[in-house]
Amino acid sequence: MNAPRMPIESGVPDPFPYMHPTLKANYGQWAWHDRPRPGVLHHVAKGGDQVWTVRAGTQRQMDVHTIRKLMDIADEFADGYVRFTIRSNIEYMVSDESKVTPLIEKLESEGFPIGGTGNSISMISHTQGFLHCDIPGTDASGAVKALMDELHHDFTHEEMPNRVRMTTSCCQINCGGQGDIAINIQHTKPPKINHDLVANVCERPSVVARCPVAAIRPAMVNGKPSLEVDEKKCVACGACFPPCPPMQINDPEHSKLAIWVGGKNSNARSKPTFHKLVAAGLPNNPPRWPEVAEVVKNILKAYKDDAKDYERMGEWAERIGWPRFFEKTGLPFTKYHIDNWRGGRVNLNASAHIRF
């Protein structure tokens, strides 16, 4: 028998062999850029070289036929190179301006929207959901497809006050990350425990340790070692579910969707911020989640109508004040919006600053 093949531990590949020649030639030597139209970036190097980047949306989970079609387009129009953005948009670079329009026409004719630049709504960042995750409360790709259908105009146009970065997450681990608008599963009931399986499947002390509110304790149930949850303490976060699948947190009816706004990764103007809860209790309603789309579009409209240029969603809410945010969006303000978690006092208004 042959010895098994051992991996070549090569790590992260060097990007230079895969890089468009104009980018390679001007590495670290770029001078400025502008955006001739939505979906197109134009970069000029210190030495005078220019490159136009055409950005197109994709479905992220791509079949090989779609990928090969995108590669055919790159070979025909863009020198045989592409790159991807953090939000799963594909980018084609061309050093000849006359190639931009035919490239755009080709991509559009194949159904790929051109946009995601500047003050647009870019592709929603997300992970797997029902398609591949072991702990999902909902599907990610489907919810994103349904929402991007609704937001197509704002992907392909730059009409927002500033960029809008959205995310979705199928549990509170929040793989999608922070966003101007984040659409996240919020469980509303404690886990349902299959006591027959806990002893065999779960490492009980580490499950106990995962709970942020110390609501889980070891117990004997029906003569078997298991775990029990103090349901008055439980915050339904689902942290116990990944290490202990018999503690089922997902519930077709009671796992709801919540909407958070004002997350920002950039340091531009204000420091980075976390997103804040604005709406909850929305039904998990595949295949198109219309109730979520309605709330999201309503928030986006209020932002678009009222924010000043360059204000991100959270900066806009800060300026007009949260009472007015709830007024303008028509969303209810409830006791659940007030942070009772440790350190939550920093979120309270310790001043006489009140808008009337």
């Binding site: 070549i8 895969y18 995750c133 991007m148 103007r269």
Partner: protein, 417 residues
């Protein structure tokens, strides 16, 4: 005999609308009579069931490649019939290989075509560009095909990424390759760090995950402050550059009010002022390198020449203790020479060693720092305190300060040194 695609009334509704449809793509795979088609038929069957019942049906397990302890995400179906046989047997094993892309996610088409050929041969034909931790996700592989698929990808020069309690796949922005804001060689820093700790990536033995992310400026396109255990942000410490001629052009074309409203008053530290002659006055000592004015006036304004990075640690999302942003531990370090890069690698090594020895199981670096305090962490990795590490000094007196004279002396010695 190829499997017939069952009815998928829920998923079918995701085929309409202007955005590209992953369902349409999956159906193409299901219907094109290739080796993977049956698997995709059954994947669609399981996914349709999830849409109908609003439940997920995958469980994890243990699948890997020889020589590594991580990097493959195992998925086995939990959807069984009354005889405890999988209802969708061709997709009963549907594992993902996480493969690290070239830094900055650059590709030539030949490479991606080869990925497609390999994944057509061994996998489902479904590839995600990219996962949230920055890997190419080759989704849908039987247990038997994981090894040969990896072997072919590995021979192409690609390696498995991180999963589980390990150093994870890193991310760096497009940066120097196509962005004038770039203040460092993002790809070099990210590659050096990840490649220096491949043992901690491929043989997961840390308390929990550890992520490196590098953004070339404060715009932080890699979301590193929010989600990296060690975040590096390009910055500069000399004056920002102002092309007054170009600035005046902006004033002329955009108007003074626009410049005042969108540039001058948007500066978070009031470091900008519009001069009477329509040139720009910058108080560089007040500038916090937020990038706003540079983002807006790309032709007129740019970062300075004395570039380097700021380092923040401990960003992560909610579970278990609540959201944490990364916080500054190194306000500035140069990243020009090989020695500079070695210093960065050493610091990362100190941090990972300290994390490995001191974090609890399933505790991220930020949570560990929250538990033990930043001072203990800094002392553990051998860094001195710096006022750039805080938003403001402490506001409560609950601290024993009988070492004050000694600590003050250290400060003055450092200042003098």
């Amino acid at each position: 005999m190829a499997k017939k695609l069952q009815d998928t009334p829920m998923l079918d509704q995701l085929e309409s609308g202007p955005w590209p449809s992953f369902i349409t793509g999956l159906k193409r795979l299901a219907n094109d009579g290739k080796g993977y088609s049956d698997m995709v038929v059954d994947l669609l069957g399981q996914l349709e069931t999830s849409y109908q019942t609003k439940k997920g049906y995958w469980k994890g397990g243990t699948v890997g490649v020889i020589g590594y302890g991580g990097g493959v995400i195992p998925r086995f179906t939990e959807l069984m019939d009354e005889n405890k046989k999988p209802m969708f047997p061709a997709a009963a094993e549907f594992h993902t290989l996480r493969i690290m892309p070239p830094a900055g996610m650059h590709y030539d088409t030949a490479t991606i075509r080869k990925f497609c050929d390999i994944w057509e041969k061994y996998g489902s034909g479904l590839i995600a560009f990219h996962g949230q931790s920055g890997d190419i996700m080759f989704q849908g592989c039987t247990s038997d095909n994981v090894q040969p698929a990896f072997d072919e990808l590995n021979e192409m020069g690609f390696d498995l990424g991180g999963a589980g309690p390990a150093v994870r796949t890193g991310m760096s922005c497009v940066g120097a390759a196509r962005c004038e804001h770039s203040c460092t060689d993002e790809g070099r820093a990210m590659r050096m760090l990840v490649n220096a700790f491949l043992d901690d990536m491929h043989r997961p033995a840390l308390p929990y995950k550890f992520k490196f992310k590098v953004s070339g400026c404060g715009n932080d396109c890699m979301n590193s402050i929010q989600r990296a255990d060690m975040s590096m942000i390009g910055t500069w410490r000399d004056d920002m550059k102002v092309d007054q001629g170009e600035f005046k052009n902006y004033v002329e074309t955009k108007g003074r009010k626009w410049i005042v409203d969108n540039v001058i008053t948007r500066c978070p530290t009031q470091a900008l002022s519009l001069n009477e002659d329509d040139t720009l006055d910058v108080k560089n000592s007040d500038c916090v390198r937020c990038m706003h004015c540079i983002n807006v006036l790309t032709k007129a304004l740019s970062p300075g020449d004395d570039k380097g990075i700021s380092i923040l640690v401990g960003g992560k999302r909610t579970l278990k203790i609540g959201d944490l942003m990364g916080t500054v531990i190194v306000p500035f370090m140069k990243l020009d020479t090989d020695e500079d890069y070695e210093k960065l690698e050493e610091l990362a090594g100190e941090m990972i060693d300290f994390f490995a020895e001191n974090a609890l199981e399933h505790e991220r670096t930020g949570e560990m720092i929250e538990r033990i305090g930043l001072i203990n962490f800094l002392e553990g990795i051998g860094l001195d305190v710096d006022p750039n590490m805080v938003t403001q000094p402490r506001s409560n007196p609950y601290i024993r300060m009988d070492g004050w004279d000694e600590e003050a002396k250290k400060w003055f010695e450092r200042k003098a040194g």
